[in-house]
């Protein structure tokens, strides 16, 4: 693991997700660029001291020197955005598979470059867009892909948070500090941190691609350097329209990502606060409550659940599904057996490139006086 020292949020989540199914063992880390801090985290995690490094370069170089059977196989990179590209590039170039936190890089240019590196390396990359790991999100995608609800006509995706309602970066909130800092986060704040999740969820569930967009991007809190709120009108490549809302100043909101998609026969609705439910509405018959862990859900929802219906799974399990599918894909590859579509269903480097394109287009549109900005990669 690179990053994820004490006090980090997402590093701890990656470790829980990796632990859950017993498919990963954490054996080495460069948890901080401060060697003492990295070592201290290593002690807390019970790692062998000689495999706790003071830099990602050291980690990659020294792990590579170990015999193939004794070195790390996958490197999870959980640093802030500006520290994604270099360690990911180096890891891939040295033959390590990579699990990378989102958004993929600091800029679209970096993302494209990383894609080239990855393709040349023969290694795989998994981008942790958590929300696509939920069984009922996968069920929505599978229902829509099967045309069960007819051609898609409209989608709404929203991601309301309230935790940046005050000038948190003025205090000692590390999470707020880097996320609102252009030097560490990139051109976008809320749109990069959570807007990309919403964008990825939209394209994942609909199976469609955004082709143009029109954004209202706001920095609401005085003194803040990046956007903390925005709303986007979008057009999809089948002609459907969509709305994407993401805010970090929706005071009192927690993290209730929600998506609704309508075809001409009905619609689906999923929200994280009730993540084990997919609501399926129909034009002229009762709405259905589809549930995780039941026998009637599709192959993707089945594959990504661990316990029977009525035993709620949540965020860590969704995150762990990304880790698990990535591991199963790597195992299949190692065994020379084919990975099933269910195994291969994790966010990839091309999702990452589209996410970075979203960030750059949405910020550009926010500044434009023209209504529509074409979405190109």
């Amino acid at each position: 693991m690179i990053g994820g020292g004490t006090g980090a949020f997402i590093g701890a989540v990656h470790r829980l997700a990796a632990n859950l199914d017993g498919l990963y063992e954490l054996v080495a880390g460069a948890f901080s660029s401060d060697a003492a801090k990295s070592a201290a985290t290593g002690v807390l995690l019970g790692l062998a001291p000689d495999r706790v490094y003071g830099s990602f370069q050291d980690l990659i170089a020294r792990e590579k020197q170990r015999p193939a059977a004794e070195r790390v196989q996958v490197i999870a990179i959980v640093t802030p955005n500006y520290l994604h590209f270099e360690p990911a590039r180096l890891a891939l170039e040295n033959g390590f598979h990579v699990i990378l936190d989102k958004p993929m890089t600091f800029s679209l240019a970096e993302a494209k470059q990383l894609q080239t590196v990855a393709e040349a390396s023969g290694c795989l990359l998994c981008l942790t867009h958590t929300y696509t790991g939920y069984p009922m999100v996968k069920e929505a995608r599978q229902l829509l892909a099967a045309n069960t609800l007819g051609p898609i006509r409209k989608a709404y995706v929203e991601y309301p948070q309230g935790w940046l309602s005050k000038f948190e970066e003025g205090g000692d909130n590390k999470q707020a500090a880097w996320r609102t800092d252009p030097a560490r986060s990139g051109v976008a704040g809320a749109m990069g941190d959570i807007g990309t999740h919403a964008f990825n969820l939209l394209e994942y569930v609909t199976g469609l691609q955004v082709v143009k967009l029109c954004a209202d991007i706001n920095t609401v809190v005085a003194g803040r350097q990046l956007d903390d709120d925005g709303a986007v009108l979008l057009k999809l490549n089948n002609g459907a329209s969509a709305v994407l809302m993401a805010s970090q100043i929706a005071a009192g909101e927690e993290n209730n990502v929600k998506i609704r998609v309508y075809g001409d026969k009905g619609g689906v609705e999923w929200q994280q606060a009730d993540n084990n439910t997919l609501l399926v509405r129909w034009l002229d018959s009762p709405a259905e409550i589809r549930r995780t862990g039941t026998g009637y859900v599709g192959s993707f929802a089945q594959h990504n659940a661990r316990v029977p219906a009525g035993h709620p799974e949540g965020y860590i399990e969704a995150f762990a599904n990304l880790y698990r599918n990535f591991a199963l894909t790597l195992q299949a590859r190692a065994n020379g057996t084919p990975a099933t579509p269910e195994m291969l269903d994790f966010p990839s480097i091309s999702d990452g490139v589209r996410g970075m394109a979203f960030i750059e287009h949405v910020i550009a549109s926010g500044k434009s006086t023209e209504k529509w900005t074409e979405f190109t990669v």
Copy 2:
């Protein structure tokens, strides 16, 4: 009553709303321009045959000939949009108060003209924007007006319906037929029918006014002449931003109007499907469930509820609140006593003018390549 013959939806609702509190008695009507149909409706409603008319002109002329104490006092106009202006103008000019269905007129020009007529007439007009009649919508407005949640920063208002997902106007659906016909409905379809409700709700709850907007307006169903879907980015006069979504092709949705508004201390959420609840979220403490009929709600919510907490009120009661407050205002006026702010709290002709301005601006913006359209009246 003008309009509201057999088979009409909203006419029947007006009658239920008028009945509920025993403050109105229906004594005369021109229910259809077809005199026989009008008479038949009169029979069903048990009216005296001599007060059932074949045209609104007749109704107004002949009621005026009756002694003041024996003529109708208020005329409810429940016809399609293109038949709002003339009867309303004639009624006001002849000294009758008017209850008028929304949107107020066929065009903004008509709306302004009606406003002039009304002001000259000394009569009052109540526009039936139902949703502002709900007790917990009023509670939201009162909480925000008192700055309980801090300055408003963001609002979302949505009105999803699915009933026009097919080409209903191709069959014998009278409701669909006139609402999708530019000659009867005006320049807008969904935006006029339900978008104006959402717009009115937004301005009512926030106490703010829209100053510019950017709209994505769609006609999704093949063959349809007017919009059936749209989403709008808006700026409010305190600098806050908002999003308005209205659709009649969200297949499977019923009528779940919903509004969320956030200040810097917390936010409010109300939706029609759970209309007796106002959810109030706070930055750092538990969200509150405020409920109709309790002792702790504000004066507006108190005034507009009829039964104790836990006895659900709904759409008809909200509609009846408009009728009731209008009646109480007229009674106060007749008695020479002051009407309280709670009585005066019904949608007025100026709401109607702004609603018509919304319709024209939002359609213009939908056709524009420029991002922002200024909102002027």
Copy 3:
């Protein structure tokens, strides 16, 4: 109307319910045994002073003296329990139909006597067990009656309130005072006031009858004279078992009556707080959300709704359904046409007798050391 003077709760509800559909006109009343109070209420309600009486005896005697076409046809009795029997008896014996608040009488003996009177009189009686007036309660009954969910095996019905958590009868709470007074309420407090509603709902929805029961009856608040809490195990006449819970000391609860019934293929769930929804669960397929006002519901739910899906109806509408069906039945009778099963679907005098039997049995069981008490009428 007999009873329902200023300050009464249920009298006002009866008037709203009677008004709603325009099928009743309130023309006479004995609103209080204090003639001045009665007169004052009459003024507020705009009645002719000569039809506002100082006693129910007067009302009945003097209305009967009026020509048949000019006298009241139906008398609503909305007094406390101890004042149900006499006015109801007198009204029936004098040829007036009766709408009577629940529980029907002060004792089971009175109830049986009233049944005899009613049968002899040829007049009809409607008992206002409100909850059976909800469209989705009727939908549940119709689904179960059609064996859609298989033979009934288990039912839970609950009625939690919190408004008597303190010694309210010690102050000036009139509602609390008579409901906790054995001289005015009868042998039961909570079990009479709300337990009978729950019991009636159970028998109505299941279409079954209770054959024995075992009750835990409690008086929780110090100083109170009657029960304010209880739970009952029940056996139904098809062998199924049930649980009934009613409490008025469930602090913070409003009035969320709820019933769940399970057959061998699935179950239904309805609760007043979400009264326009009937949840239908199935053994091996997604649960369904059935909704008021849709096209797919059964004939009873259709008949008892006024507005399309998504326009919430509530408590007053449910109450009004009792009034409306009673009126339609009386009209059919007057016209010599058959009343449909939907019209005849209002709580009758035999429901009232069973309700009184429930009260007496449940209180007896609460005092018994034997487990099961046979339920007989």
Copy 4:
């Protein structure tokens, strides 16, 4: 681990729970009494073959022969009820701490005997009553313990399932087969499997003890040997009353354990289907929605959450909280530091004894013609 071979449900859950926080490593197992099956499970789990045993006796004997630092420290026993006592006794007597699935033993006599063994052994036992592992269940307990809601007056606990609605034990459903078999499950079916969970939850949340009970116990499905449904009236040691409902024939229900407890100032409500929420109702002010992961919850809820508010945790996390607290307690013990109350908060052997007493009393009461059965241990 003892038990938990391929196809078992709860064994897999124990492994997920043990994995999550990285505090346990599975190194040895006797997964089946069939040595080949045990070995096969060991292979799947990647264990060293020499630590996969064919019997629990072997596991305990041979692990004990290993050097102290290389042997298992904790043995998880996840077999059917009739196979709890012997392995638990042997493990404790040989110095291994034990994690044991519920109900604790086959009979109350065994439970008491095990308690004696455990006390003599100096080892600790954790009983996996999962539901007390949820953060918001702990929040409810902490609020009530602090008297925030006043003295407890009433509680409802319910555990509805539908999975045994048919004669599942007639087919190849292993879970159904042993749970409905008196030889493997004990005197109770549903009451042992899920009734004990409800009972434990009731005593845990209220901090009170049951002193007498009255049960209606049913075997609904033809051919079944044990109860599959029941409801119980209970009295608690402070005089409060409660109702406990548990059913496995509530067709269509998943696993929505729910508890409501009322004091004289308000009440709490928690249900597994919305496990990150604790609803707190108050007599005269708005209900509160308390949420996992927030800053305002008490020390127990804080200690048992892993991610910030809005990132739903669920069943596996609750289960893992038992494992985690047990590990933290053992670590504190090993380090000679005091375990905090939060660490010590896991179900213990005395909970297990009370659970077995519940099973025997509730079944006895079900057969009794007397109303109340005293609850003694």
